[in-house]
């Protein structure tokens, strides 16, 4: 009897007909422009056509970046003033739905496990702590306490439960009508770096370089058909571009690239609009240079009092320039340079990679791509004697071996010479590049070895 009454009660509620489910939501983004910086930062500009009534109204902006920094949002449109902004990130889930329904009336459909017959009831949610407590008519029940199937149907979703984080803005408008409104905000989750492919022809002393912009989107939101601009730099951030000794920039350049500049930053606009999907890695070409001069060099740096138990491979260094006259002729945004060489069959093979920072045009670069199999250095502290209470004499022997069929030149460096260190004797002349470091340019014959000895007069 009761069931019949409840059923009629249900029919009185606004039952939705089969064809009244609203259509699937569409991406609400308008004309999107994205400016991406290096330090996990992007500026999004989204111009949407909105129909705004006169006076005060609340406008929703779905499909903003899920990693939006809401405090950076600005909204501009003809005759539109912002009253307040809200960023709702209470996400729609069964649990949130049930908790927000406390005090509300829901519909239950019970299924008889033996016959499949369905019974509908209206119920009021009293609590949703741990389990769901319901009032059905004049009795109190725990939802599905008997384990039997029960469908729970909510009439509506509370307004602030969202499938995705949503921005809403209350605006004061002077007139009614459809007009473009521009939303601007900063977001994390988007980043870019450069990737360079360098095909090195050792015999010709030339290198072909392609540069790719690699764009990643982890913001949780796709940006559809976006006008994209990349900025080589991180505003307000960065670590001062600190580079250790032996890093890639050997001599910073002083030339200005032809590319567009804004303040201190070079700008790299993508040539056409593109859709940046969520969790996507996208690459677009920005540099293609053929036959730029390049050379291979070998470097080995020994620490103070360093004795190597075994011969150590010298570093393989690829030297080239980013200058207009003799090099790549461009400023290079930070990224990774991957170096390839052709094998005996002519197939390019990977021979190492090195990261570079933002590099001005005209710089001399030296990229350490790996260690040489055939060129090795063995450093030994031969003798260490106390001359008097103030001074020590240290004799070093460096044995350089070359198993290649061509002679090679190794830049051999001894570090740790700070203070008033003097080189008392040496078997070949060194350059003192700084108080700290002596450099010998050692020619090692083909399939042969060379020995350098030096005696240091030090305080320590």
């Amino acid at each position: 009897m009761r069931a019949v009454i409840l059923l009629s009660a249900l029919l009185a509620t606004p039952a939705l007909a089969q064809n009244t489910i609203p259509p699937p939501s569409q991406n609400a983004q308008g004309d999107v422009a994205v400016t991406i910086y290096n330090g996990d930062l992007a500026l999004v500009q989204d111009t949407r056509q909105l129909n705004i009534p006169a006076g005060r109204s609340r406008q929703e902006f779905p499909d903003v970046s899920a990693q939006i920094r809401p405090e950076t949002v600005t909204l501009s449109g003809a005759g539109v003033g912002v009253v307040e902004q809200n960023f709702d990130f209470d996400l729609l889930s069964p649990q949130a739905l049930m908790q927000k329904a406390v005090g509300e009336t829901i519909t239950l459909i019970r299924t008889n496990p033996a016959t499949g017959a369905e019974v509908r009831e209206r119920a009021r949610v009293l609590a949703a702590n741990g389990g769901v407590v319901l009032q059905i008519g004049d009795r109190i029940e725990v939802l599905r306490d008997d384990g039997l199937p029960v469908r729970v149907i909510f009439d509506r979703v509370p307004e602030n439960l969202r499938a995705r984080p949503t921005l809403s803005v209350t605006v004061q408008s002077e007139g009614a009508g459809r007009r473009p409104v521009t939303l601007t905000y900063l977001s994390a989750g988007l980043g870019w770096s450069a990737d360079y492919v360098a095909l090195f022809d050792e015999n010709a002393g030339r290198m072909d370089v392609q540069g790719w912009i690699t764009l990643t989107n982890n913001s949780g939101t796709p940006f559809v058909n976006a006008n994209t601009l990349l900025v080589a730099g991180a505003p307000g951030g960065g670590n001062g571009g600190y580079q250790r000794r032996g890093g890639p920039i050997r001599q910073p350049g002083t030339e200005t690239s032809d590319r567009e500049r804004l303040g201190d930053f070079y700008l790299y606009p993508l040539p056409e609009r593109t859709t940046i999907a969520n969790r996507q890695t996208k690459q677009v070409s920005f540099l293609d240079v053929h036959a730029t001069p390049a050379a291979r060099a070998y470097e080995y740096r020994n620490g103070w009092l360093g004795t190597t138990e075994q011969p150590m491979s010298a570093n393989t260094v690829l030297r080239f320039s980013s200058s207009r006259e003799q090099g790549l002729g461009d400023a290079l945004p930070a990224g990774t340079v991957r170096v390839y060489q052709r094998d005996a069959r002519g197939n390019p093979q990977f021979v190492g990679e090195s990261a570079i920072g933002h590099t001005p045009m005209g710089s001399d670069l030296g990229l350490t791509t790996g260690q040489a199999f055939d060129v090795k250095v063995r450093a030994v502290v031969e003798r260490r004697e106390r001359v008097n209470s103030e001074r020590w004499r240290t004799t070093m022997r460096y044995t350089l071996t070359n198993a290649r069929p061509q002679p090679v030149t190794v830049d051999l460096m001894q570090g740790g010479l700070w203070g008033d260190t003097r080189i008392a004797e040496e078997s070949m002349a060194s350059e003192r590049r700084s108080a700290d470091e002596a450099l010998w340019r050692v020619l090692v014959p083909a399939n042969g070895e060379a020995v350098v000895t030096a005696t240091f007069d030090t305080r320590f």
Binding site: L16, G116, G131, R144, D195, V224, A277, Q280, S313, A403
Partner: protein
Amino acid sequence: MRRPRAILLGLSLAFGAPPAHAQSIVTSAGPDDVDVTIYRAPGRSARTPLDLQWLNGYALISETRRIAIPAGESDIRFEGVAGGILPQSAIVTGFPDGIVERNRDAYLLSANSLIDRSLGRRVHLRRTSSATGAVTEQEAVIRSGADGALVLQTPEGFEALRCTGLRETPIFAQVPAGLSARPTLSVRTRSSRAIAATVTLSYLSSGFDWQANYVANLSADGTRVDLFAWVTLASSDETSFRNADTQAVAGRLNRERVDREEREEANLQLRCWPSLRTHHIPLQSSEPPEGDSRRRNMVMNSPVAVTSVGSEDIVLTGTRIPPPETLGDLKLYRIPEPVTVAANSQKQVAFLEQNGVAVRTLYRQRLDPEEDGSTQRATRVLVTRNRTEEGLGLPLPAGRVQLFALAGGRPILLGEGSLDDRAVGEDVEIVIGEAPGVISRIEDIAWGDDWQDHVLTVTNDSPAPVRYEAEFDVVEGDILRPRARLSRRNGRPLWAVTVPANGTATLRYRLVDSDD
């Protein structure tokens, strides 16, 4: 019905900006020709064996594919690339009119991504009655992001999937655009005409490694070894490369830390509303058991693609690798015929067989000359030089060495050591292990104000004389004055002596403190 096209069209028309290009999608299922070059893990020492579950090396994979490029703009999808692809490193050549951009999506088609990517999509909800088997279907739209929830809008209102106890499942009309079953790289290109092209795709991929494995058989007199070596290649990638021209590269390459977009296998968990029931409430407790309710709330743990490395095939092949070519400053070992680099497998190819390599066995120690009263066992080292005179003279890549000798007609393992990369002409020393019968002992025998006299005694329990070498680590400021003449190695005093069969050798020395 409103099926794939309708949704796609609706999407593209919705944008205020110029409509998305009428774009055709061409899928290339796999490579026609593939070339795999395997590089060793940068940080792994020669001593460390390959861990098939955790391969930290990488590979350069170059594929050629024959592709029909339609006129106009198209998306070319390269399916069947390695799962560990580093998309930043991809090089694509051979498109007659170049390419506009390359893309790689981290999402693969899975039960997870199907739900995760379906926000706002229209699905069919199918319910089957457990009692009668009757099937009812109704339309629904997914209204929640999949982050722990699946809320559907049905004609009757809003419902949560999997909270009812009914047999119910969403049915999708189509796979969301851009989800592939296998790792995929895609390229957007624009061609003036329809054309068939041979394109090349190269990229680096993680999840590979290789090393050399040496087997040395020591002759009866201990002066020669027969050396045999394998190149052991391993892949923990999910993609197999059939009939691949395969190479291995020795030498150390610089690698940078790069952020690699991990493949999305989000462990999606669908949660319901609180579903604690009265029979869950423990007796004599006033608090509901939180953990228990949380566990029960996870109604469905959706299946996760498990990348199990359980079924490694270990393949030995009969071909022989010729001596390596020089590639820049590296060495490239080429397997002479195409082989299959299978997913989750290890493959071994012979690359070296040198019989009668001249070797010497040494027993070696580094000693603290101030030691008093303790004994130490010497280390057995196999020494040779990588020259043709010794029967070698070819680049030796790093790897482990097993040393065997014949005893009573069968091989006995004498020890296991390792070898770093050794160029031609270098000394080769293989530490085989500790020798239980060659033992040193240092004793204090006399002392004065600033000196101490010590005796080093070495004993040999074998019926043959052995070569013994001790290097002394002299503390800075101390002077070691031996009674016998010592040479120097690595800047250290070196005592080299032959210890007679079943005999002893002694060295007396004085340590003088020069500091005062």
